[in-house]
Symmetry: D2
Subunit: 282 residues, 4 copies
């Protein structure tokens, strides 16, 4: 379906994670190992928050989105080389049916919030109208594209994302599952979602049938330094640096932990946590 | 806003009208004379019905749509040279705010129906949700883009376009104007619209404030032949051939009549008519 | 590298071969089995000659070329459904380094000639200038893109393609191999090439190291009818119909023969032949 | 033909010049006043050098180039808002015939050099081969597109641009004019060119017929402050800040001086100068 990467930590050039690793996100655009398809060639995007050291805060993120495959997108490469950021979301798309167009590329932005998704709402053509009606009328005009992913974002915003992200995502999950029930769609939701407000980052893993797409959370940097004293790069990143990815970027032993089913990773203020999605985990 | 052309008559290569005339539609993409802007560079499209002589009827139209300006769109030129059709709609877009993407390019297609529009629903962000809810739930999943134009098409389909096109368009007009009233938008609608089912062609001109965008209807070919016995091309086209355009394609004396305010042109079975939009003409 | 298909026979809708077969060319854009890569997502194109029954001959072919992956290219699908042709070339591209742009998509056209290629000139950056200088000065201005494939076409045109296609292609091969020798590139050429003038079709398979990319030639239709009396479609195609493909389109027993190393298939006047590339076969 | 802008001075967000001024470069993409065409909709690009304060020097510039019109290019807007640079080149293209593709968008980059052009080599199809042969063989493989503009860049590089930019550009001019003479093209060159190595900026204005496209150089900031004590923005920019543009960005009295025929502006080390192109000024 798609692959994505979210980063929070010491400011780095985006290319360090998007291009340089052995199994980088760009590599995954042609050679995904854990996705439904090996090819994720239906567009790409990156949203990044400015480095607070050199800008006024709290800043709106910038977003770059393109419809071509990531592997041949030269502007993405240019950007990734010169933009440094302490917090960014990157995405490569494999459409599940909706049009290949910029407004369907992730991440989606509303104010200083960014959202991206891997997965699908099954039976989306049948469920779409019901779900669109549940978007707050004041938010409705901001929906630009035609994907299930963007609609999920506006549903979550309508259900309180800005106040309590995990509770709003749980409400969004239940809302979609109730719509699925009304329309006779047995397992309507399949998702890994990353969302950020510029200081906090959440990464959710959930599916109705509890067989969710892969999601990995990087190990605490302090632990990794002990495991791998030989890896110099680990000395340069801040203690709280974390990466959440659809697929590990390489084979460094102990570097990646699977995010459990029906749970989410949370990164803020220099540390990371895992929590169950208690109200929907049933 | 946009410029368009609709043709019904003897099968001709699309290029005869899209490229060859002095002030062709492609010329209008950079040098429109009667539009709000001289430039219509936000995409282009053409939908055409097959020549019934060599196909089984009633056929679905084919649609070509591209996001670049018409003047540099090589595939359009190739197509226009080799495709012959007795009935086609062509459009060059000047966005009034919605994204430049293929799914926002005209003409829009549903089954064997084609629709294209020049103009705007004013206050569209405010009115959009109300109008979207009035689309028949069975049609709702087919809306692919984000334009007012496509939404008007699905509203018209929901309001009976397939049974009685002029009455359905009048209902659509009233529906949009009522939504405008509810939201305090004084003059919500500005439109010239072409719609066809493959055998009939309608071209509507209307705006709430009765100052609609330009629309011209070609003179009956028999009359033109008498006026211009020197124009050889007129001998080769069938009697009932008609062209409806946002702007005249050239300066041939007597060749073009303005479609009056709040009325529509109708072309079928080899003849053309003009009718008032009686129930909204007030 | 790339995959392609060339067809000569009874006029058919392009979609019959591009979309309908089990392992169609469009399927190969994501799931090539015999290519260097499974993904061929760097553009696509089709060039077709008009059906002589309804046009004046000898006609220029039309060409459609797009930079996105074939699997999501809606205009190609539209075209393929409505265009019927007795002779066409279709191509899906996997770039070997040159830019993803329309002018690098195949097939290339010069007058009524079409050319497409799978493979590469190895060491192309080093050899390019030498080879460009050997293009006839009168043809030089027509080179539009930056690929080795288009340059090969103009070399072949400069070396007599219009007079004797197989001999000109052999000269082109030797010219490239000589340039390779001068620059110390041991195995400079890897190619399967299709070329047509609108009535004849040639399909070449060659590589300096005699380990060429796959190429298949469809069996004579009369033979296939005897083998498969149960396949109704075979009764509808003319006797001389032939398809040349990078990979078989399906699993019909006996339907496909590999084109041997260093040889070419020739289709014209309703029959097909295989010939060695004698002067370079060494 | 095209319009461009070059900036050297205090680091600013690109959007300050590309989007904010009354007659900004983006405005010029639809409403150029002094160009051959009012529309410059055949692509856009910007190349910028990093702010040396936060990067290691001497840095390669980053380049963003897109084929759509600047007015609807959302990624350009995003970039322009978040990228700050002390030295950048921005361009909007109106093709004089060559393909609308990324590799034909300006600025062109070689190493840490950037180049952009407004104008044309007249008779380019006839002259192209001669000129291409004069590119140094070691530079030839770096030519990616098909424009006269990029070819001029590689000619200038071959003729010593890196050692003495003004002399190399004069040599390039003479080389093109000699090729024109050989081919019977009376006035082969029309150009305004900006070129930078990351610390110095040159802007040339020349045409064989001495009727060159418009080019303006901003007045010394100290002088402007005296003229306009009411303009607060002038207090914030460094003394040596200079802008060179195809058309003035606004109507501030005394802010713009025309660059004379057959001369060039030079900006470095915080001051600007104008010099004649002595050897070609005849």
């Amino acid at each position: 379906m798609c692959r994505w990467l979210a980063y929070s930590g010491s400011p780095i050039a985006l290319a360090e994670l998007l291009y340089k690793p052995q199994h980088s996100l760009i590599d995954q655009s042609r050679h995904a190992r854990m996705g439904v398809e090996t090819t994720n060639g239906d567009g790409c995007g990156v949203g990044w928050y400015p480095d607070l050291a050199d800008r006024a805060s709290p800043a709106e993120p910038a977003v770059f989105r393109a419809t071509g495959p990531a592997w041949s997108e030269r502007n993405l490469l240019e950007l990734a080389r010169c933009v440094r950021s302490p917090l960014f979301l990157a995405h490569i798309r494999a459409s599940t049916g909706t049009a290949v167009q910029q407004s369907n590329c992730h991440p989606f932005r509303y104010g200083h919030w960014l959202w991206m998704h891997n997965g699908a709402i099954h039976g989306f053509p049948e469920l779409k109208r019901d779900l669109a009606l549940l978007i707050d009328p004041s938010l409705y005009p901001y929906v630009e594209g035609s994907t299930d992913s963007e609609l999920m974002f506006y549903l979550a915003l309508s259900l309180g994302l800005r106040d309590d992200a995990p509770r709003a995502v749980e409400r969004m999950i239940r809302t979609i599952e109730e719509a699925g029930q009304r329309h006779g769609v047995p397992a309507p939701l399949q998702m890994t979602v990353a969302v950020s407000d510029g200081s906090r980052l959440w990464a959710f893993r959930y599916s109705t049938e509890h067989r969710s797409r892969s999601l990995f959370f990087s190990t605490d940097v302090r632990t990794l330094r002990t495991l791998h004293p030989e890896v110099a790069a680990l000395k340069e990143v801040a203690d709280g640096t974390r990466i959440v990815v659809s697929e590990p970027l390489g084979d460094l032993e102990g570097a990646w932990h699977e995010v459990p089913e029906s749970s989410y990773a949370y990164v803020a203020d220099g540390h990371g946590e895992l929590h169950p999605l208690s109200s929907v985990a049933a």
